[in-house]
Structure formats: structure tokens, C-alpha cells
């Protein structure tokens, strides 16, 4: 059979290029700036939303008990939280899929179900604590929780069900920016600059030594700064936003910026608690603290702290509820995108609405066991965090999945395994305190 060779000139080949909607600019720096602003979102939100109602309570309590002497822990947590979320960025951009889906696929059904059930349970209990904080804050603002909580819940639902990822993201980024008001409060209440700098840079054990209370608070600080839902949230958010391989460095910058904001704001919360300590103010929750400090700090600080408590709870609720809805949608194979209208992703949106509505409803029940729920959250989160980190670490070393380009480098693994070992140790210390309460001397 004769074989004919057909020669085609490259000039004859016409490649159809797609038409895309974009912004045309002339300068490279403007191109970079605008690209960064377009990518900005998932990293900032996951970090700032981590300063939720539970975090406000924990940091303020740390300040009230130990002044500014635990600020150095936040400095250690700053790169830790960034390194963990940076791995999530690589996994999300490379696969375009959520964390729950990857655990199911690579570790099998047993671990997939375990991770999902644990996430949904911890998330739901955390949502209850968010609405409990909203209840406390609105009460101190003179609004009945039977009005304040439903308004917050409806607002949270409307924010999400519009069928536009961008509309949700821009609203939440604005709430993140509002969180910077803590800087103003900390500036007003500040101790000496020397004390702040010293306690931030120089690790030290407060007077009284290593007590059970101190250990519990340190573990609570670590557990509130690095939360399991963050891994699921950011990866799903990156997948929903369809971040590209070329966006990876901007996504890292977005996350780094978020880490800076969240740690700085956490420090400001500790400063507020420290002010209460030095002025002999006793309280059981941040809302009480704000009220008790009014005669010293003025009405503005009082209202500011209460509104920021609500802001923290709203941020936490939307992020945590979305992490639940995305994870469940991924595993069930449902359409699960904020870009889809309600009728095209009913399962996904109903999961979100259900989480918010049930948690809001629970706190309005008279004599609901809120203290037990708050304790349960701390215990379950302490159990879940090490397992979530282990799966993340194993996935980021999975060359079959990610290829050479996106797997962890050796230094990544050294840092991450150190973090994992420390987290395991802290969880075991917490458990040991339960079994042997006299392990550490009491305060």
C-alpha cells in the first residue's frame, strides 16, 4: 500500500483562541496588582474567620489570666498556621477538588467516613458556640436574642444563596477588614510598648510555673489557632473559585496576609484581656468584660467589642457552615458550588441552611446545655486536629497524585512532621490531664 505524506505549512494552521472577559492594562505592576486582588479571598477568609467567637473567648481569657505573657505563643503559631494552609493551597490548585473528596479517594471509605463525620460533628458544635456568642453580645446591646439570633441566621443564609461566589466573597472580605478594628481597641488599651515587644519575642512561663490551667490554656490557644475545618474550607474554596496553577504564588501571599492579620488581631484580643486583668475586672465571657470595663474605657470600646464579637461569630459561622456543605457535597457527588443557583445545588445549599438554622435554633432553647457543648467542641477538636493534619501531610507526599512539582520538599516535611508531633503531644497532655488531674500542679 502506498503511504502519502501530506505537508502542511504552519501558516495554514489556524488555532482558535478563546474569548475571555478581562481587564486590559498597560503596565506589568498593574497586571500583578489586579491579579493578586482577584486571587485574594480564600486565604484571608480562612485565617480571619478562624478568629471566631471561641477564639475571642480564648485569647481574652489568656490575657485576663496571664496578661501579655503568652504573646510569644502567637508568634510561634504564625508560621505554623501558614505552613499548614500553604499545603492546602497546593493540593487544592493541583487537583481542583476538595479535601474530603481527596481523603475518600486516597485513603478509602473507612477513613473518608471517619473524617467526614468528625468534621460535621465538630463543625456543628462549633456553630452552636458561635450563636451562643451572638446571644451574649446582642443581650448586652439591649436586643433580645429571639430577634438578634434569627436576624443573624437569615443574614448568613442570604449571603450564601445568591448563586454568586464573588458576591459572597466580597461580603466576607469586608467583614474580615472590619475585624481590624481590634487594632484600634488594643491601641486604646495598650500596655507599655516594651512589655509588648518583650513578651512577644521572648518565650517565658508566667509566674506560678507550669500549672494545669496554663497547659489547658496553651492547648486551647493552639487548638483555636489551627482548626480542622480550615483545611477543608480553604481547599474547597480554592476549588470553587477555580484558582489556576499560575495563581499559586498569589494564593500564598493571600494566605500569608491572612496569617498576619489573624495573629495580630489575636494579640489585640489578648491585650484587651490583659487590660481587664491589670484593672481588676473579673468576667466569665468577653461580653461581660466589655460591660465591666465601660466605666474605664468608655461606651465606644464596650460597643466595639460587642459588635466585633458578633462579627467574629458571623465570620466563623459562614466559613464553618460552608466547609461542612462543601465536604458533604463532594462526598455525595452533589453539585456543590456557590456559583450555582439554589435550584441547581439544592443538597449543597440545604446542608448550609440546615447547619445554620439548627445551630441558631438550639441556642434559643431555654436551658440548652451550652457549657457541655462548648466542652465537647474542645475535646472533639483536640481529637480531630492531629488526624486531619496527618492526612494532609500524607497527601502532600503523594507523588502519584501530585507529581514531583507539587509534593512537599524535604524542608516542608521536617517542618510539618515537627508540627504534627507537637500537636499530638499537646493532645496527649490534655488527655493525661483528664485521667490524672494532679499531673500538673494547680494554680
Amino acid at each position: 500500500m502506498q503511504t502519502k505524506v501530506l505537508k502542511i505549512s504552519t501558516a495554514d494552521i489556524v488555532v482558535e483562541a478563546p474569548t475571555v472577559r478581562g481587564l486590559m492594562v498597560r503596565s506589568k505592576w498593574m497586571h500583578r496588582l489586579l491579579t493578586f486582588l482577584m486571587v485574594l479571598g480564600p486565604g484571608l477568609i480562612v485565617m480571619v474567620a478562624d478568629n471566631d467567637a471561641g477564639a475571642v473567648s480564648t485569647y481574652v481569657q489568656a490575657g485576663a489570666q496571664y496578661g501579655t505573657r503568652l504573646l510569644w505563643i502567637l508568634l510561634l503559631l504564625w508560621p505554623t498556621t501558614y505552613f499548614i494552609q500553604e499545603m492546602v493551597i497546593r493540593l487544592g490548585i493541583a487537583t481542583g477538588k476538595g479535601h474530603a473528596a481527596m481523603i475518600y479517594q486516597r485513603f478509602g471509605k473507612w477513613w473518608g467516613v471517619f473524617s467526614l463525620v468528625d468534621l460535621e460533628l465538630v463543625n456543628f458544635l462549633t456553630l452552636v458556640t458561635e450563636f451562643a456568642a451572638i446571644t451574649l453580645a446582642v443581650e448586652h446591646l439591649g436586643i433580645t436574642p429571639y430577634l438578634g439570633v434569627p436576624i443573624a441566621a437569615v443574614g448568613l443564609i442570604i449571603m450564601v444563596v445568591t448563586g454568586s461566589y464573588l458576591r459572597w466573597e466580597r461580603t466576607v472580605v469586608l467583614l474580615c477588614v472590619l475585624d481590624l478594628a481590634w487594632l484600634g481597641i488594643a491601641f486604646k488599651l495598650r500596655p507599655g510598648v516594651g512589655e509588648l515587644v518583650h513578651n512577644t519575642l521572648v518565650p517565658g512561663i508566667p509566674h506560678g510555673g507550669l500549672t494545669g490551667d496554663l497547659m489547658f490554656l496553651v492547648i486551647a490557644i493552639v487548638g483555636t489557632t489551627i482548626a480542622p475545618w480550615q483545611l477543608f474550607f480553604q481547599q474547597s474554596c480554592i476549588a470553587d473559585k477555580k484558582l489556576r496553577f499560575s495563581d499559586i504564588n498569589w494564593a500564598r501571599l493571600d494566605t500569608f496576609l491572612g496569617a498576619c492579620v489573624t495573629i495580630t488581631v489575636a494579640g489585640c484580643m489578648m491585650v484587651a484581656g490583659a487590660y481587664a486583668m491589670t484593672h481588676g475586672v473579673h468576667f466569665e465571657d468577653p461580653a461581660q468584660m466589655a460591660n465591666a470595663m465601660r466605666s474605664m474605657t468608655g461606651e465606644g470600646i464596650r460597643v466595639g467589642i460587642l459588635l466585633l464579637m458578633i462579627n467574629a461569630a458571623v465570620l466563623g459561622t459562614t466559613a464553618i457552615s460552608l466547609s461542612s456543605a462543601w465536604a458533604y457535597g463532594e462526598v455525595r457527588g452533589w453539585p456543590h458550588s456557590l456559583q450555582l443557583p439554589f435550584k441547581e445545588a439544592k443538597g449543597f445549599y440545604f446542608t448550609y441552611v440546615g447547619c445554620v438554622a439548627l445551630a441558631a435554633g438550639l441556642v434559643l432553647i431555654p436551658r440548652a446545655p451550652l457549657q457541655l457543648i462548648i466542652l465537647g467542641v474542645q475535646v472533639l477538636a483536640g481529637i480531630m486536629l492531629p488526624s486531619a493534619i496527618i492526612f494532609l501531610q500524607l497527601l502532600l507526599n503523594d507523588k502519584e497524585l501530585l507529581g514531583e512539582q507539587y509534593v512537599n520538599k524535604t524542608w516542608n516535611n521536617w517542618v510539618n512532621w515537627t508540627i504534627i508531633i507537637v500537636l499530638f503531644a499537646l493532645s496527649l497532655i490534655l488527655a493525661a490531664q483528664v485521667v490524672a488531674p494532679n499531673l500538673f500542679p494547680s494554680s
Partner: protein, 81 residues
């Protein structure tokens, strides 16, 4: 003003010289990601096995401790009135 960016639909073949196009990820052409559809469970290398076994041991220990604490609080061990 000439430096004000303008949103427009642009064919990538027709981009003028010395101009840059900033495209939001949600408006961009879908990118091909790493294909995970043919991947099954992760290969159980020794490090993966050790990690997962350690995790199982940790979870069993922690759940046991939680159960102990709950039963202790309920007074089953006779410590609480």
C-alpha cells in the same frame, strides 16, 4: 484616563502588544487539573502504614480516655457524689 483598566471580552489572539490582560479565575478558560479519576487508594508504603496505624492507636487511646472521663463524671468509679 488611559491607565484605567476596562473590562472587555478579548480574544487571546487579538491582545495588543504591550498590553496585559487580567482575567478573574472564574471568567477564565477552565484549566486542566491533575487527573485523579483513575487513581484508587494510596499505595501502602511503610511510612503510610506506620502513620495510619499510629493514628488509629491515638484515636483508640483518646476515645478511651473520653469514655473514662464521662463514666467518671457519672460517678461509676465512685469518685463523685
Amino acid at each position: 484616563m488611559h491607565f484605567m483598566p476596562v473590562t472587555m471580552d478579548v480574544n487571546l489572539n487579538d491582545l495588543p502588544e504591550n498590553h496585559y490582560l487580567v482575567v478573574h479565575p472564574l471568567n477564565d478558560v477552565p484549566e486542566e487539573k491533575i487527573d485523579t479519576s483513575n487513581l484508587g487508594p494510596m499505595a501502602m508504603t511503610p511510612s503510610v502504614k506506620i502513620s495510619l496505624l499510629s493514628l488509629r492507636a491515638y484515636l483508640v487511646l483518646m476515645m478511651g480516655l473520653v469514655l473514662y472521663h464521662v463514666l467518671d463524671l457519672a460517678g461509676l468509679f465512685g469518685h463523685h457524689g
